[in-house]
């Protein structure tokens, strides 16, 4: 089933795109990450121009996150109050991110900065999560676990502007979730991803939110940041391919439903270990690509297209 993509100006196999959407949607529903850090490289791999891949992907993420949030919301797993604070930070962050992006582009080597940022972020986040979740699983097996406190209070939580988050059972400074949202927003603008792979672990480890509440709350915030980015991309770069987005969504929406369902059967540390493994795999792939000798050291671009 060949489908011509009007903005990307190329023909793709519709079934392949549906399947891609489905797989990434499943992971998105499961972990509460948008899956952008997986989808962008996959789209580029099947030949979509990078600029169109990034622009379209944010559009697709809007739909995937709406679908995911509804699933989590029905199970009562969304902390809207926390989501709103994260979102406020996210909006500020994406403005800063857009500015940073233009500065980096002026200096040149924006591609390198993006690749290196991916490697560093994914490596750090994935490595830490993997280590933590494996430790938790080992502890479980040895049955030496003592009942822990609901969450550990760290100095960050003592900052001013304390707010009560009922759903998350937290009474902490609003500065912390705001800052997390801000960093996430910067990532949305620079890397063209939803930022979930960074926010999910930050919400678990820095905020101490219950793992069950995290994916829904993260997705809730991602809806709005990706919507803003989609509109900005459509206006400035004309790189949102509606046809491609709809195909990805059709697969993604179905995948996300199964992901959400499947996620409720997984224990928290298992889920975290799986997400960490996935993040580390992508990180290794990107790092290897930076170091391996390319097939052709020459490449061409048509200026103005990317």
């Amino acid at each position: 089933m060949q489908v011509y993509l009007p903005i990307a100006e190329m023909s793709v196999n519709g079934l392949v795109v549906l399947a891609l959407g489905g797989i990434v949607g499943f992971l998105s529903g499961l972990f509460g990450v948008g899956g952008g850090f997986l989808m962008t490289p996959l789209l580029i791999f099947i030949g979509i121009p990078p600029a169109v891949a990034v622009g379209t992907q944010s559009n697709q993420l809007v739909g995937a996150s709406v679908s995911g949030v509804i699933g989590h919301w029905r199970r009562g797993n969304v902390d809207f109050r926390m989501g709103a604070v994260l979102l406020a930070g996210g909006v500020v962050g994406s403005v800063i991110g857009v500015w940073l992006f233009s500065v980096l582009r002026r200096i040149g080597q924006i591609d390198l900065v993006i690749s290196l940022l991916y490697v560093i972020l994914l490596g750090t986040v994935g490595g830490l999560m993997l280590a933590e979740s494996v430790r938790a699983m080992v502890r479980q097996r040895r049955k030496t676990a003592v009942r822990r406190k609901l969450h550990q209070h760290i100095w960050l939580h003592g900052l001013p502007l304390k707010m009560r988050f009922h759903k998350s059972r937290l009474y902490i400074s609003a500065v912390v979730p705001f800052a997390i949202g801000l960093l996430g927003g910067i990532m949305v603008a620079i890397l063209g991803v939803g930022g979930g792979f960074f926010m999910v672990p930050a919400m678990i480890y820095l905020l101490g939110m219950p793992t069950a509440i995290v994916p829904g709350t993260s997705l809730f915030q991602i809806i709005f940041t990706t919507a803003v980015v989609t509109i900005l991309q459509a206006i400035t770069n004309h790189t949102v391919d509606a046809m491609l987005a709809l195909l990805l969504l059709a697969g993604g929406v179905i995948g996300a439903q199964f992901g959400t369902r499947f996620g409720t059967n997984l224990r928290g540390e298992q889920m975290r270990a799986l997400l960490a493994l996935m993040v580390v795999t992508v990180c290794i792939k990107l790092a290897v690509d930076l170091v391996l000798t390319p097939d052709d050291v020459y490449s061409i671009i048509v200026p103005g297209m990317s």
Partner: protein, 251 residues
């Protein structure tokens, strides 16, 4: 008039009619006539590439070369170098007036038709494209070859010369293939009549590659009403996401 001459005259008349040209000038004056079966390549939602037949006739003997050039753009060629273990883009060269698409077909191998300078002058053949950079450096040749190699990898430049076949001694035809990723815009189809190592006649026919129907509407909307397009894209995505979760509610 012998029977054979009558048939030849009838064929010639038919050909003129087919070309839509009034046979006012004597046929002898025109050494070369050619046309395409189709002057518009319509890219619709199901587009997977297409073929266009070019046909024509020559007066007397000689060889025929067909060149198809897509709209010209500038292209930046970048070269990666290993720096501290990482492959980075370190140098680049920008070429201007690069045909976005190029293909060629001929009745005989090009080197048997004319000397390189003749081919160069008429931009016949992948090695004679006159690709010029903005600021030339001694490495021009390496970058030029890299540009052609990359275009070939994308399927937009040919890896070999196609064939033009003669039907009888005067009529010729060839099939031009366009891949699914063919750039849109105005193309030039040039037909050359080669004789004694020189270009004896040339004719250029326009060809338009354009999106039509739904995909054309989407492009139009995306460029003319970019902000509304963005908002609509977001709403459509959100509704699709909501519909999906409603549909799966009872699963």
């Amino acid at each position: 008039m012998s029977r054979r001459a009558r048939i030849r005259a009838a064929v010639a008349a038919l050909l003129w009619l087919a070309l839509g040209v009034a046979p006012a000038a004597p046929a002898r004056a025109q050494a070369l006539v050619a046309d395409l079966t189709n002057h518009l390549i319509a890219i619709t939602t199901g587009f997977t590439g297409t073929e266009v037949v070019l046909f024509g006739a020559i007066e007397g003997d000689g060889d025929v070369v067909v060149v198809v050039r897509g709209p010209e753009t500038s292209v930046e060629v970048r070269r990666k170098e290993r720096t501290a273990g990482i492959w980075l883009n370190r140098s680049d060269m920008t070429f201007v007036d690069v045909p976005s698409f190029y293909t060629i077909a001929s009745t005989r191998p090009l080197d048997q038709l004319a000397r390189p300078d003749v081919l160069e002058r008429n931009r016949i053949g992948i090695d004679h494209l006159a690709l010029e950079p903005v600021d030339p450096t001694p490495e021009l040749d390496v970058f030029r070859r890299a540009l052609i190699r990359n275009k070939q990898r994308e399927g937009l430049y040919p890896t070999q010369v196609g064939t033009v076949t003669f039907v009888g001694s005067r009529l010729f035809r060839t099939t031009v293939s366009f891949p699914a990723n063919v750039p849109t815009g105005s193309y030039q189809v040039s037909v050359f009549l080669m004789r004694n190592g020189q270009v004896q006649g040339a004719q250029t026919t326009p060809l338009l590659v354009s999106q039509l129907g739904l995909s054309a509407d989407i492009v139009d909307f995306a460029y003319r009403r970019a902000a509304i397009y963005g908002v609509v894209a977001v709403i459509v995505a959100a509704v699709a996401g909501w519909l999906g979760s409603v549909a799966f509610r009872r699963v």
